[in-house]
């Protein structure tokens, strides 16, 4: 069966993190390598720190993939979770890029204001060094191809 672009859900990939803060830049590095390799209907948006408005501006019917670095998981490990699964999750996984408000709070508030669940996933990579500098720690640098593939796969599945 042929799948046409119009049959797919639009997908927004929201890239979090700061490229000048070590492993925080991993999402930007990984998604940059995907330019031209993502299915049609997938839009990549670099948001830096994830704001509620970033999620509120996602069009109805679109799916979201949030890519972020995280603490609380081993450096280089890639974790993929549904967005709504983070709200009531009580473990050490802590995405970095929502700043003053916790990541689950940002997702939860956006969901509440939208009045419907945010369909999407977070793809997070564990980091170990978030100080100043563009270089990634060794384990995170080695995991960049896997992170890029995880993002592409998640976008592909989300759009189907």
């Amino acid at each position: 069966m042929t799948v046409h672009a119009t049959d797919r859900h639009p997908v927004e990939v929201l890239v979090c993190g700061s490229p000048d803060r070590g492993d925080d830049g991993a999402p930007a590095v990984a998604t940059a390598s995907l330019a031209g390799h993502l299915p049609s209907g997938v839009q990549v948006r670099v948001v830096g720190q994830l704001d509620i408005d970033d999620l509120l501006s996602v069009p109805p019917g679109a799916r979201v993939i949030v890519v972020d670095a995280a603490t609380g998981i081993p450096p280089g490990r890639i974790v993929e979770l549904p967005l709504d699964g983070l709200v009531d999750r009580d473990d050490r996984l802590r995405p970095r890029s929502s700043h003053a408000l916790g990541f689950p709070e940002v997702i939860g508030l956006a969901t509440l204001i939208r009045g419907r669940p945010l369909a999407g996933r977070i793809v997070a990579i564990g980091g170990s060094r978030f100080g100043l500098g563009a270089s990634l720690s060794d384990r995170v640098a080695r995991a960049i191809p896997a992170l890029a593939k995880a993002v592409a796969d998640a976008a592909e599945r989300a759009g189907a």
Partner: protein, 441 residues
């Protein structure tokens, strides 16, 4: 978050550890030690990694510095840009077009609106309404959260238009901006900002009626004061005890020092005294320069006196400044005429450049030495949170004994609520710290 309060029975000995402060920007903790009802130690421990920005800008041109320092904070990048650009222009003797001056003030209004809206509605209001988080509060007070988000969005939009993007803006240049702005572009902000002004006025009514813990501090307040406008980009450094300094002369009165428990430097008066900056200080020292709508809102609360002495009323001070910033933004939008050129021409060269402006959280000071090529040879960047740290610790030491008889959860909430009332930006405060590398063989 891990937090403990341990009691020593009838001796009145306590240790309070709040190991992960939430709803503040950055990563820090609080350690309090109380013996016989007296606080022996109140340490706001800031362990956010040091970021070395002062070294990073060495060798850079002034325009490069303006873009680099914007990266210090995702909440208040404009404060860093405004302070740096005014320092360079003051040091190099550059006059800017009055329209450029107004645009910069509008840009700063945008940052004040987004930062104050975030803090009032999403970081601090949950404390007063008895919720552990903004999300829990939103389930019962969705309309309030939507108000806050609408305000924040209006501020974001101003920064995005004039700054080139909402976070870490890129358009500010020595002498002006990287481009001119058409009247139609600026006027397009009007409807959203006018709506934001109405929300800001309702915000004052909302927060003025909140039940607030009782606390009285007599400490020194410091802010800029300008003879004709509420302080943002210009004014003299004044205090509640009579200080009156040029904005370039911060170092004659204040100095930074290291403390063992914090990655952030702490600033104090050269006489060792702590001092407090921010909305309460500005309102106390410059209320007569508030926009008439903000002045009316302040008068309507009847809280001007309490704002000066009770940090928990900081939420009211921020709401008053939301009215001031939205009302002034609207006036600038209505009166805007494009400058004759995007920026004034200037020549690089050696200079000593220093200036202070008012970030949302309080006075921020920058000083740069420019070498013969006009590149930075030395930099000092002093954000508000590093200046407020010592006063916050002193206030915690004074306040803690009054709550340690309360149940654990309530005592912790009261203490965290007090810390949040200063809106500390820990990421900003740790951008510095000298790096000393000792090589041994």
């Amino acid at each position: 978050m891990h937090d403990t309060i341990t009691a020593g029975g009838s001796t009145g000995d306590f240790t309070v550890d709040i190991a992960g402060l939430t709803r503040v920007e950055g990563e820090g903790s609080l350690r309090l030690q109380v013996r016989d009802g007296v606080v022996e130690k109140a340490h706001l421990e800031i362990f956010e990694a040091p970021r070395y920005f002062e070294q990073l800008v060495v060798g850079r041109t002034p325009d490069e510095v303006i873009d680099i320092v914007a990266r210090i904070c995702g909440i208040c990048p404009v404060a860093y840009q405004m302070t740096a650009v005014h320092a360079f222009e003051h040091g190099l003797g550059i006059e800017v077009d009055p329209a450029t001056r107004a645009l910069r003030r509008l840009l700063y209004c945008g940052e004040w609106i987004e930062s104050h809206a975030l803090h009032v509605y999403l970081l601090h209001l949950p404390d007063f309404l008895g919720y552990p988080s903004a999300l829990d509060m939103a389930r019962d007070h969705r309309a309030a959260v939507e108000q806050g988000l609408a305000l924040k969005k209006a501020g974001n939009r101003i920064v995005e238009l004039i700054g080139g993007r909402a976070i870490h803006p890129v358009s500010v240049r020595v002498g002006g901006f990287s481009r001119t702005f058409r009247r139609t572009e600026i006027r397009a902000l009007r409807e959203q900002v006018a709506a934001a002004l109405g929300i800001a006025q309702r915000t004052v009514e909302l927060v003025a009626g909140l039940e607030t813990p009782s606390f009285h501090r007599d400490g020194r307040l410091v802010a800029l004061r300008h003879p004709r406008e509420y302080p943002m980009n210009e004014g003299r450094i004044v205090s509640t005890d009579g200080l009156d300094l040029a904005p370039s002369d911060w170092r004659s009165e204040f100095a930074e020092q290291q403390v063992p428990w914090s990655n952030a430097l702490q600033a104090r008066g050269r006489d060792g005294r702590a001092y407090l900056l921010g909305p309460a200080a500005r309102i106390t020292l410059a209320a007569d320069q508030l926009h008439p709508l903000a002045a009316a809102a302040l008068a309507g609360t009847g809280l001007a006196g309490e704002i000066a002495v009770n940090p928990y009323r900081g939420i009211v001070a921020r709401a008053i400044e939301l009215v001031d910033a939205t009302a002034e933004a609207l006036e600038i939008i209505d009166a805007y005429e494009p400058p004759r050129a995007a920026r004034t021409d200037w020549r690089p060269g050696p200079a000593s450049a220093a200036w202070a402006t008012e970030a949302p959280r309080g006075l921020i000071f920058h000083a740069y030495e420019l070498d013969d090529r006009g590149h930075v040879a030395h930099a000092q960047i002093v954000p508000p949170t590093s200046q407020n740290q010592a006063a916050i610790e002193a206030d915690l030491a004074a306040f803690a004994p009054s709550v340690l008889g309360l149940p654990h959860a309530e005592a912790t909430l009261r203490i965290e609520q007090l810390i949040r009332s200063y809106d500390p930006c820990i990421s900003c405060a740790t951008h510095f710290l000298d790096l000393h590398v000792e090589v041994v063989s």
